[in-house]
Amino acid sequence: MSPARADYAVGKPFRKVLVANRGEIAVRVCRTLREMGIPSVTVTSDADRRAPHARAGDESVAIGPAPAAESYLNASAILDAARRTGAEAIHPGYGFLSENAAFAAECRAAGIVFIGPAPESMERLGDKSAARRTAASLGVPLVPGAEEVPSVERAVTEAERVGFPVMLKASGGGGGRGMRVVASASEMKPAYETARREAASAFGNDRLLLEKYVHPARHVEVQILADGRDALALGERECSLQRRHQKLIEESPSAAVGSKTRAAMEDAAVTLAKAAKYAGVMTAEFLMGADGSFYFLEVNTRLQVEHPVTEMRSGLDLVRAQILIAAGRTVGDAPPPLRGHAIEARLCAEDAYHGFLPQTGTILALAWHEEEGVRVDSGIAQGQTLSPYYDSLLAKLIAHGRDREDARRKLLRALRGTALLGVVTNQSFLIDLLEDDSFVKAETFTHTVESREWRVPETIPDAALAALAAFSSEPRAQGGAEEDTDRYSPWQRLGAWGRS
């Protein structure tokens, strides 16, 4: 029987679990721990003392200053917090230490369970160069490239061998950081140096690899659930809509993947997981060409940001599955049936109409849309001030419908019903994407977002003007949702002046 099934009766696999992350994923992991009756510990940087994740668990430990390197990436501070609170296991979420084999090994040495694969599996699959070698040895198709490009000169040589354009990538991590497309030899030097810097700061490892740039391409990935022996494929997710290689919209199934391609992709992913004796959740990412050919990209040896898409279709709780697998449960041999269609949109604090620049500010008003089949995983709260130290992801909105169009309309309703004031987000842009012809027709490619110009909505709707008029003509004292203001500013004092 699958450990992830809701009806699977177990005792508490751990007495206490520490969640070594922040934002929506920390909140989401705490939710499952609470449902499982497992006490949880969250960790916070100085910038996050009042963030929602600080209150999401049963206790919270301050682990260091705002910069991630001194807090959420600070392995010794996190292990120390686990020891002090008596946590038996650490859930790393995604990003930060989740794909750090050295950290997983440190946990093991400290007698604390790392909720994720063994460090040996991570080294074999998490490192992109090693993963490509593993894939090649198993007959999984690869994009032509070079596993090691230790210098600019070497990168140019390899690029000329496979043909420009090429892509430089960080060997040590995913998520788009440390990635650069290079169109010609003359662009190599600056791209190489930027990619290396990004890789070093994001993953603490500046090694790069190089690949031929397949274009146009879709990004399709397979979700795997494995226990060290058996591996189940839980279908694919298409995540082609990206900006700067950061995903914006993810869906399952992919309209472009036929049953034959799906079976081949799932088979490749299962083969990789079994070869690495992988235990936990794993994602194998593929690039799919216009002709349906696919190439192995990389393995993410952790929970993905977009895992709810698979959860909505399978009915599984993948965090629960991770915890049970870490406690030694097996996955069985029958994947659950996948139902309907699910689409996720990532709500980020960034100005999508002006270069996706990250935004900060104080959340003045926040309301989510509620509807059957709509899920919101959020790490923010009204009144919260967003700091510039971390990822811009604020929340994920996921809709499940009987088919793609049903899910699309539901997600649009969810986005239209959401209000987030005080910080510029990509909310309006996500609506643009879901309404766009390319999405309606499922003609989505990795370059779709960046090859188009997306324009700020010009006209303020009449209803919004009427609301503004009603708001403006009210006494300010009842203005509601006001930010802390500079009480000594004369203009603010004017604002406090009562009106009849």
Binding site: A367, V424, I431, A464, L468, S473, W491
Partner: protein
């Protein structure tokens, strides 16, 4: 009483005249009018106009007013008194640079004024603001009276060029 939104979006004035009668807002959009019942629930404003109904969220930040409608958010700057005063300099409509009480009306209909002459004095929070003529002209209309409350952006006086 006709009021006017004293907002700008990306430097462009959003100066829509409107009337409020209880829960009813009537916008004067130039070529057309938009009438709606507007009811506040927290930061939401339910807007019902004829057959159509929606809701918008509004909140005031430190420097801006935010309004969200159907998932799209618009950020507007509140017209500052100094901005309004500058704006007034290029037009013959002299508007209130701030919300407050008119303490003195120096302008008289038909009178000639020189640039810099006092037209109206407004008081708010014990500060007096002297609204002066931006250029030479003739006072064609006086739209406020001593003791009256005025809102930011309300029309106070109109000037016409001297004949």
């Amino acid at each position: 009483m006709t009021r006017r939104l004293a907002l700008r979006r990306g430097g462009t004035p959003v100066a829509v005249p409107y009337e409020r009668k209880g829960g009813r807002i009537v916008l004067d959009l130039g070529d057309r009018r938009f009438e709606a019942e507007v009811k506040r629930e927290g930061f939401w404003f339910r807007v019902r106009s004829g057959e159509s109904a929606t809701r918008c969220a509004v909140a005031r930040g430190r420097r801006q007013i935010w309004v969200s409608c159907e998932g799209r958010t618009y950020v507007l700057d509140e017209d500052r008194p100094e901005v309004a005063a500058e704006g007034a300099a290029s037009t013959d409509e002299i508007r209130a640079p701030m919300t407050g009480r008119v303490v003195q009306v120096a302008a008289e209909k038909g009178a000639s004024v020189r640039e810099g002459d006092l037209l109206v004095t407004i008081e708010a929070m014990k500060m007096e603001f002297r609204v002066t003529a931006p250029e030479d002209g003739v006072v064609s209309e006086v739209r406020c009276g001593a003791g009256e409350r005025v809102e930011l952006g309300d029309l106070l006086v109109t000037l016409e060029p001297e004949a």
